[in-house]
């Protein structure tokens, strides 16, 4: 009876964690960005948002998305100079954007010889309170600045002082916030770190894991941002889901010792998916699926070998880090990086990611340590079981859903 009750509670927890996760799709978070050019007499801005984001503004009125977007910007973007509102020249003009995105241009008439303008952006916040807007501002002296707009920070005074705005340190600072915000808002990265941490017993192992993951994602973040590689974002995001499921399966395999059995089940699942892909012409290519099968076999079987298994996790963390790095880079390239601040922004963003990662890991580590000191420590195996099962379900949800474009 007691076992039955436990199992029921476990199922309930697993189910609720997955149902709750439906809306927390990492990377599909609500965000938009803008590029501003400030000259002595006018301020020009080009706003970009995903078309999906703009559908939030629909009220059922017979209007196309570009008109809704332009109208919304007209109401929610304003500039003040010396306390006076700058007039918007003409209407907001919809301009062409790449597929899946919307763009609009705004021009304000402002005389800025002495004052620094105050930019006020409240776009989308009424429809998505977690919305984040990134503004990239270039002044007439060709200095770049980045500003982050959130529901609680809807205004920024543009620094007109060249020395202040142009410093590399200022660029790094601005991107550190963006990096922290990205990792804390990215549910899949947090979930992956949790899956990695579940079986860690010693602080030394934790350090090795973090180092491996950091080395991996720093490499791909850098080479993607520089433009050396252009990854397919759908494959990257689906593979991030797969990495979560694989680590969760490995956690259970490590507890039970059933590495071979679980490897076999995983391969059957992946082969079934590969066959579906071939028949329906959807999802990953056969070669990619073969890669995932090989990775699964190699990883789980290597982990079953006690001697090789001990050192394999930090090494695998590098591999998983490489995949997650592509995901981080997509966020950075989507925002847009000023060429004069490429290295500063890359460094700042990476520092931000590391700080956010450390914050999350410290929090999770403290929770795990706290749990170990409670009277419930005898149930720790059950907690790992439930958490790993939930994470595996969540990882598969992201992996399959993103592979077929369902989510």
């Amino acid at each position: 009876m007691c076992h039955l009750l436990r199992l029921s509670i476990s199922i309930l927890l697993v189910s609720s964690s997955i149902f709750l996760s439906v809306d927390s799709i990492a990377h599909n978070r609500s965000q938009s960005h803008s590029n501003w050019i400030i000259s002595d007499h006018s301020i020009e801005a080009i706003f970009t948002a995903k078309s999906l984001e703009v559908t939030r503004l629909q009220t059922g009125i017979n209007q196309s998305l570009d008109i809704i977007f332009a109208d919304h910007l007209e109401k929610t973007v304003s500039i003040k100079n010396d306390g006076q509102a700058c007039a918007l020249r003409n209407n907001v003009l919809s301009i062409p954007a790449k597929q899946g995105y919307m763009q609009a241009k705004l021009i304000f008439d402002c005389s800025l010889k002495t004052e620094s303008p105050l930019i006020n952006i409240t776009s989308f916040f009424d429809f998505a309170s977690s919305h984040v807007h990134y503004a990239h501002v270039i002044t007439d002296s060709l200095q770049s600045q980045q500003y982050l707009f959130t529901e609680v920070q809807t205004q920024h005074q543009v620094a007109h002082d060249n020395k202040k705005s142009g410093s590399i340190l200022s660029g790094i600072n601005q991107y550190i916030y963006i990096g922290i915000d990205h990792i804390i808002g990215g549910a899949d990265h947090i979930v992956f770190l949790l899956a990695l941490l579940l079986l860690v017993r010693r602080f030394k192992d934790l350090i090795w894991l973090i180092t491996g993951f950091t080395v991996g994602h720093s490499i791909t973040l850098a080479i993607t941002t520089i433009g050396w590689v252009i990854p397919d974002l759908h494959i990257v995001e689906a593979t991030i889901g797969f990495s979560i499921a694989l680590v969760a399966v490995d956690n259970i395999a490590a507890l039970t010792g059933y590495h071979r059995h679980l490897a076999l089940f995983s391969i059957i699942g992946l082969l079934a998916m590969a066959a579906t892909n071939i028949i329906l012409g959807l999802g990953f290519s056969s070669l990619s699926m073969l890669g995932l099968v090989t990775l699964t076999v190699a990883y789980l079987l290597m982990r079953s070998d006690n001697e090789a298994g001990i050192g394999v996790r930090p090494v695998m963390a590098i591999g998983f880090g490489l995949v997650h790095g592509f995901g981080f880079a997509s966020a950075l390239t989507e925002i847009g990086i000023p060429t004069d601040l490429l290295w500063a922004s890359l460094l700042g963003f990476n520092i931000g990611i590391e700080l956010g990662q450390l914050l999350i890991i410290s929090g999770l580590w403290l929770i795990i340590l706290g749990f170990k000191r409670t009277k419930y420590v005898s149930h720790s195996r059950l907690v790992i079981d439930i958490t790993s099962a939930s994470l595996c379900g969540l990882g598969l949800y992201w992996f399959v859903g993103r592979s077929y474009g369902i989510i």
Binding site: S10, V22, G60, L255, S388, C392, G405, I406
Partner: protein, 166 residues
């Protein structure tokens, strides 16, 4: 008996893992269809494209203009069917790459696009000193920024024109 007790947590772990995986995958069936979740204003989905409500209503309004008497359910179905057929044909044309390969279609697409930009610019720009040509230039620059353009083999200056050959 002892070995059975030792094994039971393992079975529980595996059972939970399978339940978790099953729920994770089956949750995908609970996700609202893209048609409903992404585009609340859609009335039909044809492959990856949707027919939007405003588009449908516009077609109904046009139909109403041509028809005497009230619009019936059969009329509404007819309009929707017409839009679906149209979308199927457009998709077939795009699949066959006609807009690029067929010179007549290419010219028509190009002309329609240019007219649309110039008309929109003229309607939105109240200042006569600003020309619609500026927006076309801006539009082209935007397209260029988002495109991957590689000039292969010969730069235009190296290509011999007929007068040079002679």
């Amino acid at each position: 008996m002892i070995s059975e007790n030792k094994l039971s947590p393992n079975y529980r772990s595996i059972a939970l893992l399978f339940i978790g995986s099953l729920i994770g995958i089956s949750s995908l069936f609970l996700v609202p269809n893209k048609l409903l979740g992404y585009d609340q204003g859609a009335v039909a989905q044809i492959n990856n494209a949707v027919i939007r409500k405003d588009e449908y209503e516009r077609a109904i309004a046009l139909f109403r203009g041509d028809k005497r008497g009230p619009i019936t359910d059969a009329d509404l179905n007819l309009v929707l069917e017409k839009l679906i057929k149209e979308e199927l044909l457009v998709q077939a044309a795009l699949r066959s790459d006609s807009p690029r390969k067929d010179l007549k279609i290419r010219q028509r697409v190009l002309q329609t696009l240019l007219t649309s930009i110039q008309t929109r610019s003229a309607a939105e720009i109240s200042d006569p000193s600003q020309s619609a040509g500026e927006d076309l230039k801006f539009y082209l620059n935007q397209l260029r920024d988002n495109a991957d353009i590689q000039r292969l083999k010969k730069a235009p200056g190296n290509i011999l024109v007929s007068s040079e050959i002679d």
